[in-house]
């Protein structure tokens, strides 16, 4: 962008503006902006409006009581929010999850990835003035929510992936329905490519907007779609396979453009891989039990784990310390939104005010998850 302007607090021409926290797109999140005319000179994200102390709450509840409230920070991606917690507790208890339980975890995790990415693409289209994308994505997302409901019993917060396996088995008709949904969705994604990703208007609004180099992505600790759109091949499912991800064939989509367009397109490619994984998992679902018998107050031996998975928005991690008591001694939630937040002031430099929503939402940032 053309304007070379230095920030100085004395300069009369610099105006400070607050974007959010009531902005309909920002969603419980504020960005402090310093503007020179139409250009952003400096910015400072201000999260914390929806901080609810999940980590402190976790220290007051036992390992099973922690399940429902821990998925609340990221209800769009609720299974993936619980997944690393379940993995961590499994590891502390040294429990070996039956294969069918592992596969069902994978299926639910990938369904949630699609649900989350559909919401992301819908709002990204909305911010660009592409009304078709929001209506199509929100509508199609509902079919995946329906599928999740058939497996998990709830529509948004499934509480399906729990320590010891999954809560219940998959009903037979949901397997058939899942395969059908996959077939239909592949065709839909082709249509998204035509109407959204190859649309000249979308290219104009997002090409070269909010460029993040590979070096910066590494230095600032970016994960997920943000990292993969900047040429960083970073996917925990491949790097450190958990829950039998090594059984499935899929690729890690990586793009090198590093702009807002690429960050949205990576999400679509992610969904293509997710559909592949769901298909494979549904087809070769092993027989057997889906969970271990764990009482309502499990005995967790003392220890320390750092578990992580690839959620829709990036690497979701938990640092759990057990001292042998019924409750965790420490429960640290590392959410991908908070990890990617440091990138935002880097991207909001010398850009038009009109580009802020596209850049901001392109980071796939979810304020509730970042604030915990």
């Amino acid at each position: 962008m053309a304007v070379e302007s230095e920030y100085s607090p004395d300069a009369d021409r610099i105006m400070s503006v607050s974007l959010g926290p009531q902005h309909p797109g920002a969603g419980h999140f504020r960005i402090k902006l310093w503007l020179d005319g139409d250009y952003v000179v400096r910015s400072e994200p201000d999260p914390g409006y929806v901080h609810r102390g999940e980590e402190k709450m976790g220290e007051y509840r036992n390992y099973i009581q922690n399940v429902p409230h821990l998925e609340r920070p990221e209800i769009l991606d609720s299974s993936n929010t619980l997944f690393p917690y379940a993995l961590g507790v499994d590891e502390l208890m040294n429990s070996k999850i039956p294969p069918r339980g592992q596969y069902l975890r994978v299926i639910m995790s990938e369904i949630n990835r699609i649900i989350s990415h559909m919401y992301f693409l819908a709002i990204q289209g909305y911010f660009m003035g592409h009304t078709t994308m929001i209506t199509w994505c929100m509508g199609d997302r509902d079919f995946w929510i329906d599928l999740g409901e058939r497996i998990g019993g709830a529509r948004v917060t499934f509480a399906y992936i729990i320590p010891g396996g999954v809560r219940n088995d998959i009903p037979a008709y949901a397997i058939e329905k899942g395969l059908k949904t996959c077939d239909w969705f592949v065709k839909r994604m082709d249509e998204y490519e035509k109407i959204f990703f190859s649309n000249p208007m979308v290219h104009q609004r997002s090409d070269k907007i909010g460029y993040l180099s590979r070096e910066d992505a590494i230095a600032y600790g970016a994960t997920g779609t943000v990292a993969r759109a900047s040429g960083l091949s970073f996917d925990v499912r491949k790097d450190e396979p958990y829950s039998s991800y090594e059984d499935f064939e899929f690729k890690v989509p990586v793009l090198n453009q590093g702009d807002s367009w690429a960050r949205a397109y990576v999400a679509l490619l992610d969904m293509r891989e997710a559909v592949k994984i769901i298909r494979q998992a549904l087809k070769k679902l092993p027989e057997g039990s889906v969970r271990l018998k764990i009482g309502p107050q499990p005995r967790v031996p003392p220890g320390e784990v750092y578990s992580r998975i690839e959620a829709a928005r990036g690497e979701y991690s938990y640092h759990i310390i057990s001292d042998g008591s019924p409750r965790p001694y420490r429960l640290k939630i590392g959410s991908p939104s908070f990890k990617n937040l440091r990138v935002l002031p880097q991207l909001l430099k010398n850009v038009h005010v009109a580009d802020i929503p596209v850049i901001y939402w392109g980071l796939n940032y979810w304020p509730v998850s970042a604030d915990r």
Partner: protein, 192 residues
């Protein structure tokens, strides 16, 4: 990948090439803690490279592919720079704090991953213990830029003072928070 090799190496020791490929069997002392599981050879390389370079640093395995490197706050920057520039651990994952109230200590953990192909599956936890009454540790933003907001969060939640941090104002808590850091063990949530 291109590492940001701006910091000078702490000593004139020739840096070992490509840690992912070199087994490093001749290293002086193995990791002091007993390893729970057999490790791949390249993993042993990280532990022995750190212990041979920094003998006073304690290295133990949390599990396979998780290495906990414990040291005093005075050493952490040196070890962090060594891990970033020589071992390739350049991608900060998160920063966590722990309140060990019985021992009157606070712990800070930096969980750092790597973008070097072949070692992305490893997480090194750089851990330091500091007295609870006067918790001052150096900031590591110059080692891993992404640690900035994580350190801010650890500051407000545990009251740890990161020396050299540009902005330690509240990030998640309200601006007018006027109580003790809430994740300390002696803070009791309202209604409990």
């Amino acid at each position: 990948m291109s590492k940001p090799n701006t910091q000078p190496a702490p000593a004139a020791v020739p840096s070992p090439p490509a840690p992912a490929a070199q087994p490093q069997k001749q290293a002086a002392s193995p990791a002091p803690a007993p390893m729970p599981k057999p490790e791949p050879i390249r993993a042993k390389g990280f532990a022995s490279q750190i212990t041979s370079r920094f003998p006073d640093v304690k290295v133990e395995w949390m599990k396979q592919r998780r290495l906990k490197v414990s040291m005093t706050p005075t050493r952490i920057r040196e070890v962090g720079l060594f891990a970033r520039d020589t071992l390739g651990f350049d991608h900060i994952s998160t920063v966590s704090g722990v309140d060990w109230i019985a021992k009157n200590l606070l712990e800070v953990d930096y969980f750092v991953g790597s973008s070097t192909p072949g070692q992305e599956d490893f997480i090194l936890a750089f851990s330091e213990l500091v007295a609870r009454d006067n918790p001052v540790v150096p900031t590591l933003i110059d080692v891993w830029k992404g640690a900035e907001y994580h350190e801010r969060e650890t500051h407000e939640m545990f009251g740890i003072n990161f020396q050299g941090h540009p902005n330690q104002s509240h990030i998640l808590l309200p601006e007018d928070w006027n109580d003790m850091p809430p994740l300390r063990k002696d803070y009791v949530s309202p209604g409990r």
